[in-house]
Subunit: 279 residues, 2 copies
């Protein structure tokens, strides 16, 4: 329990009568309190200024300023209006918008990510005899990246960015195998087809996509999605792909840790193998 509103709520009982009035007012309009002066609060809450200060001290704060600062910290960031980039924007403005939109995508994704599904995915991946990553186009790159991470764990795995190879490989899978099917739109015919084949053969299919419900979902054992509106440039999915990358990162770390010390040693070995390629 560290946010100030909860603390006020909890301390309610140990407050004097007039202080309670302050507490109630703060709880009812915290956003407004941040912008008000002590005089405003005293008037609105129908008590005197020192009472407001005494209230602040009572909840273990230094003073009124401290209350405002604490409230500001805990209040979810107003309404962040994410603007689309514009032809008139300067480079710093563009950078700001792209980065902000990326951050936002990561935030939203973490918030909406089903942790149950994440756990099931980690379970499946760490048990898997082999992992296959499927993706085409931009998502193909994500597949390659995921492969590049997971193979370090010593798990046999491969990424296919070629639709034919995906289908062919999917046909050879069984219940001991896991497929991670990546498609931002979740509508790519090739990926859907491969996922279908993989599922028919009993493999666990984990879908990584931009929305929860897509045509691909039907053939997935479970879906991890990066719900986020594309802000920076609607013509190329960027921030949501970044979020998908973060999902894959999280999966990788979780799977790596589930392997215990052994995996750490494997990762070290891989790292050491590159030693003479560097200065």
């Amino acid at each position: 329990m560290n946010d100030i509103l909860s603390i006020i709520q909890t301390s309610m009982s140990s407050l004097r009568n007039s202080e309670k009035k302050v507490a109630e007012y703060v709880l009812s309009r915290p956003e407004l309190v941040i912008q008000s002066s002590i005089t405003d609060i005293a008037e609105k809450a129908g008590i005197s200024e020192p009472t407001v200060i005494r209230f602040c001290r009572q909840i273990k704060l230094k003073g009124f300023m401290d209350l405002k600062l604490c409230l500001a910290r805990d209040m979810p960031h107003g309404q962040q209006i994410l603007e689309n980039v514009d032809f008139e924007d300067s480079v710093p403005e563009i950078a700001n918008k792209v980065f902000t939109s990326s951050k936002d995508a990561i935030n939203k994704t973490l918030r909406r990510l089903s942790m149950d599904d994440m756990e099931r995915a980690v379970e499946a991946l760490s048990q898997a005899e082999r992992i296959e990553f499927y993706g085409v186009g931009g998502s193909g790159v994500l597949a390659l990246d995921a492969h590049h991470k997971f193979f370090r764990l010593g798990i046999p795995c491969i990424a296919y960015t070629d639709a034919h190879m995906q289908s062919m490989s999917a046909a050879l899978l069984n219940a001991n195998h896991v497929v991670i099917a990546i498609s931002h739109s979740g509508a790519s015919k090739d990926i859907i087809e491969s996922a279908r084949i993989a599922q028919e053969n009993g493999a666990t299919v984990i879908g990584i996509q931009g929305e929860k419900k897509t045509p691909l979902s039907k053939y997935c054992t479970l879906v991890l999605s990066s719900n986020s509106k594309e802000v920076a440039l609607k013509l190329a999915p960027m921030s949501s792909r970044l979020a998908q990358l973060a999902i894959l990162d999280a999966l990788f770390v979780a799977v790596a840790l589930s392997g215990g010390e052994t995996v750490s040693r494997k990762l070290e070995k891989v790292k050491d193998s590159l030693a003479d390629k560097r200065y």
Copy 2:
């Protein structure tokens, strides 16, 4: 346009000299600013009090109090100590740490990114006759991703993940060409060698790396770095690679916009070309 530190960073160029001092101080010790008075800041930054206020107004805030409150909003609960993941962590905890660390990396990177260098990079890229992306290993994937984005703009470009191909291609470049050399460590012999050759032949070399000063820097016309401590799993650079991806995204958007409407049409065309690959 979201957090105040980024806004300050972005506005840097449009500030007066003495206001820049304020900006630098605020960026360097934001947590301290929250607890200070105008007088303190004026003294520490070596300027006068009204300058501090003028600085606040310049970045579209109401006044000094407003600055403190905005800083407090963006600096939730002191400095959230980014913990390293642990073998005991549950999957939700891991996801939380990985995502938080990614967000943090993006934040830090935007804040420390030199906008001058970004502008120069965008200028060079949009003038380029050809763009080549070099990377090996994990950074090779970034190179592929960058290629996948930029080629849509109709600019001739290519990504090489093979060290030999990189060197050979670099030897054929001239002043009309731009190389984006990607290396997280900035210490990869292969990439350094290719960058050296490219630079010798007069090409503009843009380095994308994890730190400002690396062996690679020497052969770069300019460097864009993703300064960030790796938190989640020290054995694999993840959050900083995510930040590098964001840098490339920003470059892409900026170059795309510099091309005006023509580019928009090209992007549309590329998108439309995929229509019958989707449901």
